[in-house]
Amino acid sequence: MRAILSWLRELTPLPVEPGDRQAAAELASELDSLGLVVERVEQVGQGLDQVVLARVLEISPISGADRIRRVVVDRGGGESVEVVCGAWNFEEGDVVPLAPVGAELPGGFKIGRRTMRGQVSDGMLCSARELALSDDHAGILVLARPAGELPPGVELGRSLAEHLGIGRDVVFDLDVEPNRPDCLSMLGVARDLAARYGLPLFPPEPRLEESEPSSAELASVEIEAPELCSRFIARVLTGARPVASPPLLQRRLHLAGMRPINLLVDASNYVMLELGQPNHPYDLDRLGGRGLRLRAAHAGESLVTLDGETRILGTREPRRRDESSSREAVICNLNDLPVGIAGVMGGHSSEIGEATTAVLLEVAHFDQVAVGRTARRLGLRTEASVRFERGVDPAGLGRAAARFCELVVSGAEAAGVAPPKVARGIAEAAAASFEPTRFRVRPARVNALLGTSLSGAEMASLLSPVGFEVRPGGAQESLEVVVPSFRPDVTGEVDIAEEVARTFGYRKIVPTERRSPAVGALDEVQLLRRRIRRVLAGVGAHEAWTNSIVSEQEQLLSGIGADLVRLANPMVGDESVMRAGLLPGLLKALRYNSGHRNGAVRLFEIGEVFALSSAADGRARPDERQRIAVLLARRGDGAEEAVRVWQVLADSLGLARVRLVQPGFEQGAFEPAGIPGGLEPSLAGLHPARAAWLVADKTPAGPEESDRREVPAIGSLGEIDPELLEAFGLAARRIGWIELDLERLAAAPRRPELAEPVSRFPSSDIDLAFSVSDEVPAARVEETVALAAGELCESVRLFDVYRGEGLEEGQRSLAFRLRLVAFDRTLTDEEVAAVRRRCIESVEEALPAKLRA
């Protein structure tokens, strides 16, 4: 909403002179504090007082120049000035605006003496755009073309500002919140300001000379669909002429961002801007019958709107369980043909044109929801639809119609043509009478909400200047409030609290200290997440944030088997599903960095993944889980590093007994299960022979095989499938991957909280190297050794893996260092030797393994 200072000052005597930047800034600050946010303050019309009226005396060519001419003008007082001009639309004798040397045009362009092709130019003749009067830049603004003597009112040398009656002005570009439809008008903004400054408000009070026959005799209006329109009125003007509007009216429309067209159209727009009431003038003779009807659109009927587009109406899909939501309001002529989309845009067929003489003005109160729906469906947000959508004053129709007539009459008089006849009264159809909203307000409650201590009388004095009627409400110190018709947003006590706060001043509300009675703390999962982030950063991984809306193709490429969550209305066609895993996103981040020669990188991300699952009743339900993923792509990274990083993480988080379960080894059947919708950790996208599940044991080492099956997987790790890398445009290399389910990780068994004492006695190491069949995972051997060593075992560590000479095919040597210690004594050589024997026997007995000599 562009609020124009001179217009506001017509409605309330604001103490701000145009051109006073300081005062304008203060006014802007008041507007801000009223909730009418000023996005920009524009100073306009500087220089219009320096530009003067001049008459063209002589036009002659300049030798060697075919685009510019020498023009001699009379700038009054017998003084003639020579200028060079490139426009061709004027003749000798025309009166034009001259910006003399020293003048500064709107926008800050300063006129100086110039020489072109040897010809001195002592000023500039201006177009309307150069003077910021309109967008017209087709030629010089010709102010008059008198045959001989100057007509009255045209005086050479007089400033353009004086001549047009327009001078400096200020435009405040306001961002009006959706709950303040009244402030989509000059009157609404002026009302708030008048209240803030304690000034009187002078709303327009149109005075008309009316004639017979009456509007109701000349035209009919009818509401066929009362749920779409509560009141519909019309006025008729005859003998109208679509002349150009007076300069002031044109200029205000221009400053407000609308294009002046002719008096009839401009007056309609002017009324909308001034009073906030959209309205529409029809050419009564082209309407097709002398009347209008409002009805619901028939499905599929069409209409060519003012902008020349064909609009199909009534095709809105009803919302589920709400049939009426498809209804759209259309205005028809008496032949039942659409002539306008109610509240959005008028029809082309009955548009005001050069030949218009009889005007039927429509002013109505359409249903705000219906207008909003239609405008959104058509993608046609107009000045009118925005106002209807937010709520137009249901009691302001008559005044708006009269104001239109007044403007058309005075505009015609100013243009020197015969004013139209204004038919008496209005034609009216009302589906419902307007009843103002009224309710009780408890000042104590308002104070309790705001933290203020205002009396009921003080509240009343804050509310009445902005249009509320406030009376003592009788019982218990309450007030009765009658809401003005232009404030549909105010429906209850809290709205009054806001209105009191706003008019009192939000900035005057004293900040008070309010402490939570609770002790703030992060919960376990939040702490865990923070620890994970820091451990992963510690191993060199940078935290990434990748888009959670991804392409389906990339999801499928990475082998994610979930039932994907699809967006019904994606922005970009190929980014239409929610990610079900973090692999594609991090691969793309890797690709980006590889493209910038930084492919040796480690990345991690913590984020949600999504999938659909079927609920018990057969309906699909979306699920989401939080995942942690680590991508290891430094030189030397791969599955081994994935295992090592996992070990660092598990150790730092204090996890106990999480095992790697790798397909291809005899470990009993393992089928990860438990998370619905395919969001169970999976090995998809990983190298099939270099990937494992991470499984939490619930029981100490060496559980029965059958116990393990029900244990949920925390996540998976391994190496990314080289084929997948290729599909993502990455060179094949070893890249490690870990992906964890946060909730499962948080639930995984931890080391006991109680400290375990450390032995003070010396420990003994035993090194054992076994040649073991490739089919047996090293972890199996390690477990067996640990179990055999029993209580004395402090640690078992694999320290060497060897394949090659001295070993049979399909065998490798696994060397473990076993550290033994007792709490109460130094172990004897015999004890150590006994453990050693036990370990060797157990391993050789349980597994296809042999101690190496």
Binding site: G35, G492, T512, R533, Y592, E608, F610, R634
Partner: protein, 359 residues
């Protein structure tokens, strides 16, 4: 010194000058020794069996007991002095030798090949954690909610009616799955649904903040991302006032930006708060004087806030006559860009490690 005239047979075997000469000679020898071997040799020459000193010592036997005592004392003192000198020199030489050994082990510490550095947390994480810490310090809990929401949580319970423009399909991503409330699932457009979850939980009072990812149908550009982060605050208690809201905003702004930054409220509009407000902080770039960052106003809008609308409380089964509350929310990514002078939001999701490793 006792007596001047003494019997000739009982004369001292040395004159003081002689003794001084012996000492000077020995000192010179010891001080000249440049290594531990040379020092041992010089020591032998000064105090060894064949040294002049030892010869004098051997002559003590023939002296009278008194004289012997006197001469012996003098010689003993000399020996002590020389031995001290030997010890001192030995120390110096040992230290020099140790230093020479270490010097041979010198390393140019700038020729070290760089190792791998630690990774960095995402700037948005760092800013979020900072915000969380401030609120935890104020006694707030950190709440979380799903990103896929139902109509009820994202709109209905927040007093956003069926025909509110915020529901237009141009703003919200919908998922083609009907929820239990009969409307399609959607990607939450703000963190405010967490307010509803907190209220429905039914444990009052509530003091909580909820950071998280939200989604809007915007084309990614310098100032928009289709997915971005917000943080939501909610306090519901007996007799909470708008003054408490203003004071809380002031407290956390001071904790975040420093106590020289001021805050103010101006009227705003949100369907789920009434009164509603926008909160602004004084521009840190110009100190409130007015600059390009703050569009010459001296103030920068940070977020929205207000008193929880009674309809929200009613929708979640909380009696608005007994309880009142305030809520606030703002963009975390925008806060990060403001603080760190980041011109393009898309830097956050490009994941260029040259960017990520700066924070």
């Amino acid at each position: 010194m006792s007596g001047g005239a003494v019997a000739s047979s009982d004369e001292l075997p040395f004159t003081p000058a002689e003794l001084a000469e012996i000492e000077a000679e020995a000192r010179a020898g010891l001080e000249a020794a440049a290594g531990l071997g040379a020092l041992a040799e010089a020591e032998r020459q000064a105090l060894g069996k064949r040294s002049r000193f030892s010869l004098l010592y051997q002559q003590l036997g023939r002296l009278s007991p008194e004289r012997r005592k006197e001469a012996g004392q003098r010689l003993h003192q000399l020996r002590r002095r020389l031995e001290d000198l030997v010890e001192e020199r030995r120390h110096l030489l040992l230290e020099a030798e140790r230093l020479a050994r270490l010097e041979a082990d010198r390393l140019d510490l700038t020729e070290v090949l760089p190792g791998e550095l630690a990774g960095h947390l995402h700037l948005v994480t760092l800013v979020t954690e900072r915000l969380e810490d401030v609120f935890v310090g104020m006694g707030y809990e950190i709440a979380e909610g799903p990103e896929l929401e139902t109509d009820w949580y994202n709109f209905q319970a927040l007093n956003i009616g069926v025909d509110h423009p915020a529901r237009a399909s141009t703003d919200t991503f919908f998922v083609d799955v009907e929820g239990e409330d009969g409307a399609d699932y959607l990607l939450r457009t703000h963190t405010s649904p967490v307010q509803v979850h907190l209220l429905e939980r039914g444990r009052l009072p509530i003091y909580a903040v909820a950071p998280g990812l939200v989604y809007r149908r915007d084309t990614a550009d310098a100032t928009h991302l289709p997915g971005f982060h917000q943080i939501e605050g909610l306090a519901v208690d007996h007799c909470i006032t708008m003054g408490d809201l203003a004071g809380t905003i002031e407290s956390f702004v001071h904790a975040l930006f420093g106590s020289e930054v001021s805050t103010r409220l101006r009227p705003g509009y949100f369907p789920f708060t009434e009164p509603s407000a926008e909160f602004e902080i004084s521009c840190q770039i110009c100190g409130g004087e007015g600059c390009r960052t703050c569009s010459m106003t001296g103030w920068i809008e940070l977020g929205g806030c207000g008193m929880v609308h009674p309809n929200v409380l009613l929708a979640t089964g909380v009696d608005p006559e007994e309880w009142s509350g305030f809520a606030f929310g703002f963009g975390v990514d925008r806060l990060a860009t403001m603080r760190h002078g980041i011109a393009d939001l898309r830097s956050f999701v490009e994941n260029d490690i040259r960017f990520l490793s700066q924070f």
